[in-house]
């Protein structure tokens, strides 16, 4: 039995990586707390290379002894599967050389904490920033459900990175976005900085975007620009707020939400929503996946597959949390 997500992922044949990298399996699965068991044990001590297929080819440092290709990075594809309670998947995508997204999913009974972070590629070590942010915010939410405080904790931890490790971090400090949510029964609290998003997808009807991107495009659209043109602009994804040493004072935007009918809370990075910028479109695709009859993790996997099929231009992270209650009429109360 192993807690390493990459081991369960036969595509990455990650079993070798973990055995090889010598790191503890908990460390190898950033953002995934211990209570998330994964289904499959490592296949063999030395699995075949996923690239060239040479049996037992993967060496102790994770590279194939035959073709030299990296057999799998621990963060290339990670999954957190809490059966019907929650599921999350993060994937490197098809174009980026590493996964700079990170996620956290913690489940205690029906309480769920979920965090998605996306490293800013232009900064140095953005993958470290996202990992630190997701883990810090996730750990904070385990102690107190204050989303805003958890994001500020993450901000402080990411800002500290600029002063340690590689000196290049000082010149271009590690930075990332964050979106975090707590689900306590029917009460959902969300908070975000940057352009990672949260949506509410009711059982029927169009999805609603709960977050508002801290991005150039959103700003331009708010100022009256044509939405389609603004999204096509090269600057569209330039974020106007982030976590990092150079971020200045960060005021996380937050929202609170009481669930009144069954639906799904969706958190995702722009690796997914950039292919589906319209919430209604994204909601429709998520609903398709949910209606395929598979498990929740199958749906989450299906969404990363969707983004990869569309080009996989960026790292993809998506978390799905079904929430249901049969109570009052929907009241959506998003405040900034």
């Amino acid at each position: 039995m192993t807690d390493c997500a990459s081991c369960a992922d036969e595509r990455a044949a990650g079993a070798a990586f973990c055995e090889a990298c010598g790191r503890s399996l908990i460390e190898a699965t950033p953002g995934v707390p211990l209570e998330q068991p994964f289904s499959e044990p490592p296949l063999a001590a030395k699995p075949p290379c996923p690239n060239c297929g040479v049996p037992g080819g993967v060496g102790t440092d994770g590279y194939c002894e035959h073709c030299g290709m990296l057999a799998g990075r621990s963060r290339d594809h990670l999954e957190a599967d809490s059966a019907e309670i929650a599921a999350a998947v993060t994937d490197r995508g098809r174009r980026h050389h590493r996964n700079e997204d990170a996620m956290w999913l913690a489940v205690r009974g029906t309480d769920v904490d979920v965090v998605v972070c996306d490293g800013v590629s232009a900064s140095f070590d953005p993958d470290v920033a996202s990992e630190v942010a997701a883990n810090t915010a996730g750990a904070a939410l385990g102690k107190s459900p204050d989303v805003s405080a958890a994001i500020l904790d993450a901000k402080a931890a990411v800002a500290e990175l600029a002063g340690v490790g590689d000196p290049r971090r000082a010149a271009s400090n590690p930075a990332c976005t964050i979106v975090a949510a707590t689900i306590r029964g029917v009460e959902i609290n969300i908070g975000w900085v940057g352009d990672s998003r949260a949506y509410w997808l009711p059982a029927d009807g169009p999805a609603e975007q709960l977050t508002e991107d801290d991005s150039w495009a959103t700003h331009a659209i708010a100022m009256g620009a044509d939405p389609a043109a603004a999204m096509r602009d090269p600057k569209a994804h330039a974020i106007t707020a982030w976590l990092g040493a150079d971020a200045g004072p960060v005021a996380p935007r937050t929202g609170a939400f009481t669930v009144i009918g069954p639906g799904h809370l969706i958190l995702c990075s722009d690796g997914l929503w950039n292919y589906l910028p319209d919430p209604a479109e994204l909601g429709a695709v998520v609903r398709d996946q949910l209606h395929k009859g598979g498990t929740l993790i199958d749906a989450a996997r299906g969404l990363t597959d969707y983004a990869n099929a569309a080009g996989g231009a960026d790292n993809i992270t998506v978390a799905l949390v079904p929430v249901s209650n049969i109570a009052l009429a929907p009241v959506s109360n998003i405040k900034e």
């Binding site: 035959h66 030299g68 290709m69 990296l70 000196p167």
Partner: protein, 421 residues
């Protein structure tokens, strides 16, 4: 582990690119407590040909040999060879090695007084005798100093034949005194024997040169360190060069060692640091692919002391793939500097002033840009440097032979790039 190996590179390659470059810095703090991990044997080979009588060379050579003997640590094995038309062992008795002690060093110094200059030059024979003596102590840190003042008198091809048979058996630092010897000949020996070559123009400077070489040799604590390079299938090592402290091409010294791996000899090591430029041709990958292009290990026998990974990551992001690694760029320039100087000297000798001017101009530019002051100063003895930045130089009408030989022998000396900038 006293050894560290660190790779400096830009691992990001544009799509379709298949050449991977890295500078691997190997540093050793020396064996534990500065003690040798093996025995040591030193052999001093002094040219005693008739020409050594000129300019007081033979007496300077005697003094230099004595100075070197005095630098040999107690317990180190040593011998002195007098080089004439044959190799004659001057000390101790033929076919033997002495163990250094105050007594044996005094005996050796007395025997050096008997060294007389008369006869020919037979470097192949001298080196062969040295190899036979080193063979008495397999596994030792084996180092020789070879001093000559003239051309080899052996039949053409004999020296090469000897070098092929003794390469790797010991390290040999070569020094030429005066200006009547050939740089190319001593360089051939130094390259085969992983040693250095330099000119000692004035006999009076020989003692200092010998002292420096012997002191350096006494600082070596490991006998036979090697670089083991593993590369993936369908990849080839284009070259492996030592690039610091001086340029030395090791590509041809490859010895296969297991599947897709080979060893390159680095010679003996003390507390020191050297840089190697490794260039690998790989099969280009797709966007996002990461390949291990080479696993570079510092090994001694079966012991792996340290390992550095040379990686290749293909990306569509040109901001990443066009980044120039300072180390790789710097040492590519230093290797070009050495080649350009040697080409300039050759062109000048052949009377092709135009090519010589272009080559020396480029060399001046490279030396200046990389901060290699020593080489720039040596260049200035052969050409007038009008503007180093643009590489504008004029050939000097009259050039001292010693200056040109110094430029030639020291053209391979490199400087280290400032780290962490």
């Amino acid at each position: 582990m006293p050894y560290t190996a660190e790779a400096f590179q830009n691992e990001f390659l544009a799509l379709g690119a298949s050449e991977v470059n890295a500078i691997v810095t190997v540093t050793s703090s020396g064996a534990e407590g500065g003690r040798r991990t093996a025995g040591a044997t030193e052999i001093i080979i002094v040219d005693a040909s008739g020409s050594m009588q000129a300019e007081g060379r033979i007496s300077a050579a005697r003094q230099a040999a004595k100075t070197a003997v005095e630098c040999i640590d107690d317990g180190v094995n040593f011998a002195i060879i007098a080089g004439v038309s044959t190799a004659q062992q001057l000390f101790p008795a033929p076919g033997q090695l002495a163990v250094s002690s105050p007594q044996t060093r005094a005996d050796a110094i007395r025997s050096i007084d008997r060294l007389q200059a008369s006869g020919g030059t037979a470097m192949g024979a001298w080196l062969l005798l040295a190899a036979q003596l080193f063979a008495l102590r397999p596994g030792d840190i084996a180092h020789a100093i070879l001093l000559t003042d003239g051309d080899n008198g052996e039949r053409v091809g004999y020296l090469e034949q000897v070098l092929a048979s003794i390469a790797g058996k010991f390290a040999c630092d070569c020094r030429g005194v005066g200006v009547n010897w050939k740089v190319s000949e001593l360089r051939k020996i130094a390259e085969a024997m992983l040693g250095t070559v330099d000119i000692v123009a004035k006999p009076a400077d020989l003692a200092a040169a010998f002292e420096q070489m012997m002191t350096k040799a006494m600082g070596k604590t490991s006998a036979d360190v090697q670089l083991k390079i593993w590369t993936p299938v369908n990849s080839t090592v284009r070259f492996v060069k030592q690039v610091e402290p001086e340029v030395m091409d090791l590509t041809g010294k490859r010895v296969e060692d297991g599947p897709r791996a080979a060893r390159y000899p680095l010679g003996s090591w003390g507390a020191e640091s050297r840089d190697y430029h490794v260039c690998i041709d790989v099969t280009a990958g797709a966007a996002g692919d990461e390949m291990l292009a080479a696993r570079v290990s510092v090994v001694e026998g079966d012991t792996v002391h340290s390992q550095a990974l040379v990686r290749a990551v293909w990306t569509e992001d040109t901001a990443l793939s066009t980044r120039i690694n300072r180390q790789v760029a710097h040492y590519t320039g230093q290797a070009e500097l050495a080649e350009t100087i040697q080409a300039g000297i050759e062109a000048r000798k052949a009377g092709d002033d135009r090519t010589a001017t272009i080559k020396f101009g480029r060399a001046a530019q490279l030396a200046h840009a990389s901060g290699n002051k020593a080489t720039e100063e040596l260049l200035a003895t052969v050409v007038d440097i009008e503007d180093a930045a643009t590489g504008t130089v004029r050939l000097r009408r009259k050039v001292e032979a010693a200056d040109e030989m110094a430029l030639d022998t020291r053209s391979t000396k490199t400087v280290r790039v400032g780290r962490g900038q």
